[in-house]
Symmetry: C2
Subunit: 232 residues, 2 copies
C-alpha cells in the first residue's frame, strides 16, 4: 500500500497508432483481456510505473500489448475528465504514432486478448473515452503532416508518387491534381529518386521515390519555412 497526504490520480499512456493500406487510414486496437471493459476494443496503453516517464510507459505498453516497437511516438493531448475511468481517477497522456503496417506482425500480449488494425470510420465500440482520443489524433494528423515529413513513416521505404498522393488525400480528405502534386512534392527536394519499379502498375513501371532524411535534416537546420495564413 502506498499512502499520500492528498489524493493522487493514476497516470496512464495511450497510443493512437496509425497505419495506411493505400486506401484508408487504420488504427491499431487491442481487445481488452481484463475488466473494466473486458472484451471491448481499446487503444494500447496502460499504467505508468513510478520510475518511468510517460514516453517510456507508452513505448513499453505498446510493445507488451501489440509487439510494436521502435517507432516514433509523439504526445498530443492529456485527457483528464473526472469520470473517464470507472475504477479511480485516471489521467492519460495520449500519444500518436505513424507506422508501416507491413513492418509488424501483431501479437497479443499480457492484458490484451488480441491486437488488430481497424479502418478509421469502421471502428468498433471502444472502452473509456478512447473514441474521443482517436478523434483528436485524427484532427491533428493534417497539421502534423504539414509540419513534419512524417507521412513517409506510413509508406514502404520506396513508394510511387501515386501512393504518396493517396496518403495525402486520405489524411487531408481532398483530392489533388496528379501533375501538380508531383510537381510540388518533387520541388521540396526531399524525395530521392529510386528509379523505375520492377513491378508494373496497370501498364507502366512507375518511378519510385524514398524520403531523403539527410536532405531534410540539412535543410531544416537552416531556416524556418513560412506558411499561411498567419505566416507572413
Amino acid at each position: 500500500m502506498y499512502q499520500y497526504k492528498y489524493p493522487h490520480p493514476a497516470m496512464t499512456a495511450d497510443c493512437v497508432v496509425f497505419g495506411f493500406d493505400g486506401k484508408q487510414l487504420h488504427v491499431l486496437l487491442i481487445e481488452r483481456g481484463l475488466e473494466p471493459y473486458k472484451g471491448s476494443w481499446a487503444l494500447p496503453g496502460g499504467f505508468m510505473k513510478i520510475d518511468e516517464t510517460v514516453e517510456q510507459c507508452a513505448l513499453r505498453e505498446l510493445k507488451e500489448e501489440t509487439g510494436v516497437e521502435d517507432i516514433y511516438l509523439e504526445q498530443f493531448h492529456v485527457f483528464s475528465a473526472v469520470g473517464r475511468d470507472p475504477r479511480e481517477r485516471v489521467v492519460t497522456v495520449a500519444f500518436l504514432a505513424l507506422v508501416r503496417k507491413s513492418d509488424f506482425r501483431l501479437i497479443a500480449g499480457d492484458d490484451a486478448a488480441g491486437a488488430s488494425w481497424f479502418e478509421l470510420g469502421k471502428l468498433p465500440p471502444l472502452a473509456f473515452d478512447h473514441h474521443d482520443i482517436i478523434d483528436m489524433a485524427r484532427k491533428r494528423l493534417p497539421e502534423l503532416m504539414r509540419t513534419k515529413p512524417i507521412g513517409f513513416k506510413l509508406l514502404d521505404e520506396k513508394f510511387s508518387m501515386n501512393e504518396l498522393q493517396r496518403l495525402y488525400e486520405a489524411v487531408n480528405g481532398t483530392t489533388y491534381d496528379r501533375r501538380n502534386f508531383a510537381r510540388k512534392m518533387s520541388s521540396t527536394g526531399l524525395l530521392r529518386d529510386e528509379g523505375v519499379s520492377p513491378v508494373a502498375a496497370h501498364n507502366r513501371f512507375p518511378n519510385l521515390y524514398s524520403f531523403d532524411e539527410k536532405a531534410y535534416k540539412a535543410e531544416s537546420e537552416g531556416h524556418f519555412a513560412p506558411e499561411n495564413p498567419f505566416n507572413v
Copy 2:
C-alpha cells in the same frame, strides 16, 4: 491519508503566460513562497485537485497565484522526468497562454510571494525544470501563431500595422518588409479597419486595425488552408 495499491504520481499544471510590450516577449513568473525552491522564481501552477481536470487546475492556480483569469490556455506538453521534483514523483501538464499585459494588474497570491513579468532572454534562475518548459513553449509559438490567429491576444484591441509586425518579428525572429507584410496581412481579410489613430506615432496618425473574429470563424468553417512544405 489516501491509500493505493500501486504508487501514484502527483499531478500538477504549470502555465507559460506570454505577454508582449512592443519589443520583447515576456513571461509571467511568480516568486515561490514555500519550499522547495522558496524564494526562487517559477511558473504559476500547482497541484491538481482530485475532482478537477488539468485545465481547471491550470486556470485556478493561475488566478490564485497571479490574479490573471479569463484567458485562453492551451496544453502543449507533459513533463514527466522522474527526478524533476525533489518532494515526490510529480508529472506536470504544461499550458501556454497569450495575454495583453495591460489587461491585468498582478497580485501575489497564496503560495506566491509575488508575480511579475520577465523578458524572455532575461529570465532569472527558475525552480524545477521550468526553464525547459519555457523553452518548449517558446519553440511552439511560431507554429501556433501560424496556425491560429492568437497573436492578436498579445496586442491591444486596436493596433497599428507596425505593432502587429513587431510582434510577428519577435515571435519568428526575423524581419519583414513593411509593405509586403501589410499587403499580406490585409489580404487575409481578418483585419477590421478601425480608422485613424487619435494619437500620433512619430509624425503621422497611423491607421488602426482589430482582429475580425467573425470573419475568421466564418472562414474557418469552410475549409482547411493548405501549407508548406508538405501541404500539397
